[in-house]
Amino acid sequence: MNKRKLSNILGTSLMGSMLLITAIFLLIFLIRMFSKGFAVLSPEFFFSMPRNAMTEGGIWPALVGTFLLTTLAMLVSLPLGIFTAIWLTNYARPRWLVRILRIAINTLAGTPSIIFGLFGMAIFVNLMGFDVSLISGGLTLAILALPVIINNTEEALRAVPVEFRDASLALGATPRQTIMRVLMPAALPNVLTGAIISVSRVAGETAPIMFTAATFYSRRLPQGPGDEVMALPYHIYALMTEGTHPGSQVPIAYGTALVLLLLVLLISGAAIIIRSSIRRKRQW
């Protein structure tokens, strides 16, 4: 066997084993999550309130809380992010200002989420007086999602062939009409995919809501935007760190973690389905 063949085989098997190691860790992780969490899953676990100092009962308020926080965050960050991206790709002048804005956005995208939590506490909770509430947490999460959505939308818009823009303008369309009727519809699948992925990111964040929205335990569902809420990730954190009855609380924590995991899987799956179904319809 010559040297090149040998090094080829070596290289391939090295990469294969790296993949295997990664896959094994993922597998162990999944098996552990399922074996520890699956036992507590039941309709009751999903739809009932926690009872007896959270040693029994379900996660309904945390589910509702996470849903509300995520929805609120998306309602704020999607329009803001999409229109910012449209402005950046089509209108923004002069160049140096755009460059500074891009650097700012990318820095924001790389900022640790606990910093967003502190920012949210300083601005929404204290300065604006929203207290620890659904609205403070939703806005904090919105800011966390914003750079991701802006970058993703910009990329999606840039991926639209410039020929479409030329065709539209040459037919007498204004730049605004070109954006709204041609560029945005063409970019939509990618914009949506990115939005859905940021939903799963937002739904799983703990640090930003710790000081701004989440509560350890709530007897009732939030009644309005000014109420504190329970949330899935924070619920896990609370059960594991502040629980007084680990024997009965740790399984609930694993069950909650499994629910969160399944939720993220479900959302990512939806993103893949949407993307591929729209891609099949229009190609260029």
Binding site: A167, L169, A170, L171, G172, A173, Q177, R181, A186, Q283
Partner: protein, 252 residues
């Protein structure tokens, strides 16, 4: 009696410091096909894109001189660029239908004006598709995606889309260079039919094609309009040596 549809006078254009068009004086006759030929980079596409002000999109473009479309100075400060573009249709080198239905592709130029009722849109779409010889091929599937059409059909769809605005002028920028010979022949033939109702300006690399379909030919070289004449005259007795050299294939 000669009718001039477009006239450029002393047209100069710079991209940044690059002097791309030099003192171009070109008359374009109504209801004729005018071909623009010349080697790559001679400025023929740039000149074409002056007529619907598409060069406006390129930063640091500077233009002096005058272009009139009919009576209107299209670079006048008060000229409305969207109105001009709706009167001057353009078809590009690569077929570029929108990722929309066939119907919405053709209706696009009318829908953005927002003043056509639904039934009129339908009539104009049919009229345009018929004019571009595409109606019989697509009349049963107006709602399917334009992306499903073949390359030649897509290009004729782009012609129909440009015709829907009932333009006075149709600008064709090497419209067949991405197409197979049959589709090319069909579009050439179509040009001869279309010139009855619209003035056609076509940029082409293909000298033989210019000879086949055009009434007038403009030969450009290094940003200058070297020669402009009736096609049969230029192709038999070119006045300029450079024209002769290009037509006989000495360079290009």
């Amino acid at each position: 009696m000669v009718n001039i549809q477009i006239q450029t006078s002393e047209l100069n254009l710079w991209f940044g410091k690059n002097h791309v068009l030099r003192d171009v004086n070109l008359p374009v006759h109504s209801n004729q096909v005018t071909a623009m030929i010349g080697p790559s980079g001679c400025g023929k596409s740039t000149l074409l894109r002056c007529f619907n002000r598409m060069n406006d999109l390129i930063p640091e473009t500077r233009i002096t001189g005058k272009i009139t479309l009919g009576e209107e100075d299209i670079y006048a400060p008060r000229a409305d660029v969207t109105t001009i573009r709706s009167r001057v249709g353009m078809v590009f080198q690569k077929p570029n239908p929108f990722p929309k239905s066939i119907f919405h592709n053709v209706a696009y130029g009318l829908m953005i004006q927002g003043k056509f009722p639904r039934h009129e849109l339908r009539d104009r779409v049919e009229e345009s598709l018929r004019a571009a010889w595409l109606w019989d091929e697509v009349k049963d599937r107006l709602n399917s995606s334009a992306m499903c059409l073949s390359g030649g059909q897509q290009q004729r769809l782009c012609i129909a889309r440009a015709l829907a605005n009932r333009p006075k002028v149709l600008l064709l920028d090497e419209p067949t260079s991405a197409l197979d010979p049959q589709s090319t022949a069909k579009i050439e033939e179509l040009c001869l039919e279309l010139k009855k109702s619209v003035t056609i300006l076509i940029v082409t690399h293909n000298v033989a094609k210019a000879g086949r379909i055009s009434d007038h030919t403009a030969f450009m070289y290094l940003g200058e309009l070297v020669e402009f004449d009736r096609t049969e005259k230029m192709f038999t007795v070119p006045a300029d040596k450079r024209t002769e050299a290009y037509l006989t294939g000495v360079f290009g």
